[in-house]
């Protein structure tokens, strides 16, 4: 297996990110986490040390860094206690979609502002009663002269409560069976755009989440990402990276939970000996450790494939659902070993438990992932 090329520069970046989360964020993180969002000043602080759009090209205000920087950033954010700032969504999903598919005008318009912390990006797909089923969405974008007239309602929009710019998934043709999906870039200052209240979430899996309403919002034609009807392709092209980031998050949480629990059970005495010395503890933690080791190797293999442009839809789906299920299992087992303290939110394991629940449902549920994998198996020709 080819090894990932982490250089000294990556380690320096890791150190800077770690210090940032420890020093700049630690004092207020608790309040922010309770609020489920961070103030705008936190985004600006993050921008100052280059945590916004690190992988975006320098011509658009990014740092032109490789994917490993995005990986490191997410790992360190989780290790520091997952402060409630939706960097992955902002950087890898929203800015990523714009950089890959946007016109030169759109890139120049959005990306520098997203990189300097002026604008926060969100992505609006799910709708009430529809979920993430692209074919069933009902938000419409009707062309009227040089503008689209956007009408509809979105929900569970991460970063949605604070966003300045939102990528909205809409149909230009609402006839039944039509699969014409479009991605429109919407300015949050546009007339007819309204937000609902901040949605309360179980954990930090989805942050700053809100319902968004579009009542005849006029969006310039130039704010269409890619060509008309290319939305599905754009979304399926960004699926490998999203799954990869979900995998990074899950594996990091597994490792972190095992570390916390090993330390805790070594010190915690029950009936005269440390919890870690009981065979049940040792066996469960051995299983968790083995699974986390295997998950990390699989994740690195997927990262290598992604870097080589070879990460398939099927493998991405495997990584996404499997690491999500594993992390839920492992974190739950780890919480158990903390006894009653594990149920107290002041213990990091309790927060990991909350935060990791989203893994199985957000960003494509486990069930959707299995459907994707099954498609690859559903071909008599694939058997020898």
């Amino acid at each position: 297996m080819a090894e990932l090329k982490y250089t000294e520069e990556h380690e320096i970046f890791r150190g800077a990110v770690r210090r940032f989360f420890e020093q700049e964020f630690s004092s207020e993180a608790k309040a922010w986490n309770e609020a489920g969002k961070v103030p705008r000043s936190a985004w600006q602080q993050a921008a100052e040390i280059g945590l916004l759009c690190p992988t975006i090209g320098t011509e658009y205000g990014g740092a032109g860094a490789d994917i490993l920087h995005a990986v490191i950033l997410l790992e360190e954010q989780i290790r520091s206690g997952s402060p409630a700032i939706g960097l992955n969504l902002h950087n890898n999903v929203v800015a990523g979609l714009i950089e890959r598919n946007g016109s030169e005008y759109l890139k120049k318009y959005c990306l520098p502002r997203m990189a300097n912390g002026e604008w926060i990006g969100a992505f609006a797909l799910s709708e009430p009663h529809v979920g993430g089923d692209l074919a069933a969405i009902r938000t419409t974008a009707e062309l009227d002269g040089d503008e689209y007239v956007l009408h509809g309602r979105k929900t569970l929009v991460g970063n949605g409560y604070s966003a300045d710019v939102v990528i909205v998934v809409a149909k230009t043709n609402t006839e039944p069976g039509n699969k014409d999906i479009n991605l429109l870039l919407v300015d949050a200052t546009a007339a007819g755009f309204k937000r609902g209240p901040l949605l309360k979430t179980i954990g930090q899996g989805v942050l700053d989440s809100a319902e968004l309403f579009f009542h005849n919002v006029r969006v310039p034609k130039t704010h269409l990402l890619g060509g008309e009807g290319t939305g599905s392709t754009q979304l399926s092209d960004s699926f490998p990276l999203e799954s990869l980031m979900a995998g990074v998050a899950a594996v990091t949480v597994m490792e972190h939970a095992i570390e916390l629990t090993t330390d805790y059970t070594r010190d915690r005495m029950v009936f005269g000996k440390p919890v870690l010395h009981y065979q049940n503890t040792r066996f469960k933690l051995a299983e968790a450790l083995a699974e986390a080791t295997i998950a990390r190797v699989f994740l690195e293999q997927c990262l290598n494939e992604y870097i080589g442009g070879k990460l398939t839809r099927t493998t991405s789906a495997m990584l996404k659902w499997w690491t999500a299920e594993m992390v839920s299992q492992i974190v739950d087992d780890c919480l158990q070993f903390h006894g009653g303290y594990g149920y107290m939110l002041e213990y990091p394991i309790a927060r990991l438990w909350q935060d990791s629940r989203g893994a199985k449902t957000c960003g494509g549920s486990t069930e959707i992932m299995k459907e994707i994998i099954a498609v690859a198996l559903d071909q008599p020709a694939c058997a020898p």
Binding site: L276, M318, W321, P380, A383
Partner: protein, 380 residues
């Protein structure tokens, strides 16, 4: 598609093609016969030796093939794909021969290894005892030095190849006081007095692989046959070898679950009840998606371990992790496949049923899953 290791070469592919031919001609026509007999015929070992399929990794200096662990992998993959999992060339070639090559005296190597490579000697290794499974320190077979001989007394069980073996590597205690004072002896069974083979034990699966009790009653072994010529080295020798043995178990487990998945996917695509293919049922799709995920991850991790092994970075913890996980997953995946086959999956004449019965052994042999977890937990 999982990328192949950079250490897997064109030469391995050529070797694969030639082993596949041997398997088709010399082995598969006799599968049922040998499984009914409960053991493999001696002639097979000679034929395999002659064709170059024994001791593929052993140095050419001692008659081996001078290959690497991928030759062992190729053989295991091919026999497993053909659903004849239990042919134990790997035991003879990749588990036992290395003990002699790595730890034997020059005389031992010259005397024994060429005959193992040719298939004239069939080898077994005898560690497990009725009262001592994976816990080597608890073995009770003793070896007492008397003049030029060691005199062995004791009993072994579950010994693969035990019915046919001409050379048995026996673990025995050379000191009563020290529980780690274990030595390995090369027992040449021809003309050995005081050596008796017990029954060929009937097993759930792996039917053509014989498994025996062995008895030593004042068995005399010449002192020249103490492995390496020095007492008390056995435990260390065994410990050093276990990670590779566990990697080999994992190779077999991964190959078996992949083959089970492949045939089950084919079955699910072909088999239909009125109006609906099995593959169109959501439960089928999800179970197969889960199995495909497990197989992909298992193969990725196995490749990772094989590369580390070749680079000499594979350790005991990884050995325990890869053995535990792949054998447990093998049993799980093959079990789900049996379920999809329905009653057909319960007939021993069906391939999937044999794969299932064979896979049960993986969680026990070569150190149980529980022992693997003990080993992993030591790193906590």
């Amino acid at each position: 598609m999982i990328p192949q290791s950079r250490y897997y070469t064109e030469g391995h592919e050529v070797f694969r093609a030639s082993f596949r031919q041997f398997l088709t001609k010399e082995i598969m026509p006799y599968r049922e016969e040998w499984q009914a007999a409960g053991q493999l015929p001696r002639a097979l070992w000679r034929a395999a030796g002659e064709a170059g399929f024994l001791c593929t990794k052993l140095s050419t200096e001692y008659g081996g093939g001078g290959g690497d662990i991928y030759h062992c992998l190729v053989i295991l993959e091919e026999q497993t794909r053909a659903c004849f999992n239990e042919i134990a060339f790997y035991l003879h070639s990749d588990i036992i021969a290395p003990y002699i090559e790595l730890y034997g005296t020059e005389d031992q190597k010259r005397r024994i290894l060429p005959r193992m490579a040719s298939g004239d000697l069939v080898a077994a290794i005898a560690m497990t005892e009725p009262g001592a499974g994976s816990d080597l320190r608890a073995i009770r077979t003793t070896a007492k030095r008397i003049n030029d001989h060691y005199v062995l007394n004791g009993q072994k069980t579950f010994i693969s190849n035990g019915q046919v073996a001409d050379l048995i590597c026996v673990a025995a205690k050379t000191s009563r006081e020290n529980s780690s004072d274990i030595s390995l002896f090369l027992l040449e069974t021809e003309s050995a007095r005081g050596f008796k083979r017990g029954r060929n034990l009937k097993k759930l699966g792996c039917k053509a692989q014989d498994s025996s009790e062995l008895f030593f009653d004042d068995l005399r072994i010449p002192k020249e046959n103490l492995l390496g010529g020095e007492e008390g080295k056995g435990l260390h020798q065994l410990m050093k070898r276990l990670p590779e043995e566990r990697l080999i178990m994992a190779m077999s487990a991964v190959a078996n679950m992949e083959s089970a998945l492949e045939t089950t996917v084919e079955y699910a695509n072909d088999y239909s009840r009125p109006g609906q293919r099995l593959m169109d049922v959501q439960n089928t799709r999800f179970k197969l998606a889960e199995a495909a995920t497990t197989c992909t991850i298992a193969r990725t991790f196995l490749n990772h371990c094989l590369d580390l092994f070749i680079e000499d970075k594979f350790d005991a913890t990884l050995g325990a992790i890869v053995k535990w996980w792949t054998t447990e997953q093998q049993f799980q995946v093959v079990g789900e496949c049996v379920q999809l086959y329905g009653e057909l999956g319960c007939l021993m004449e069906s391939e999937i049923a044999r794969r299932y019965a064979d896979s049960r052994l993986g969680r026990i042999a070569g150190g149980t899953s529980e022992i693997m977890k003990e080993l992993i937990s030591r790193t906590l």
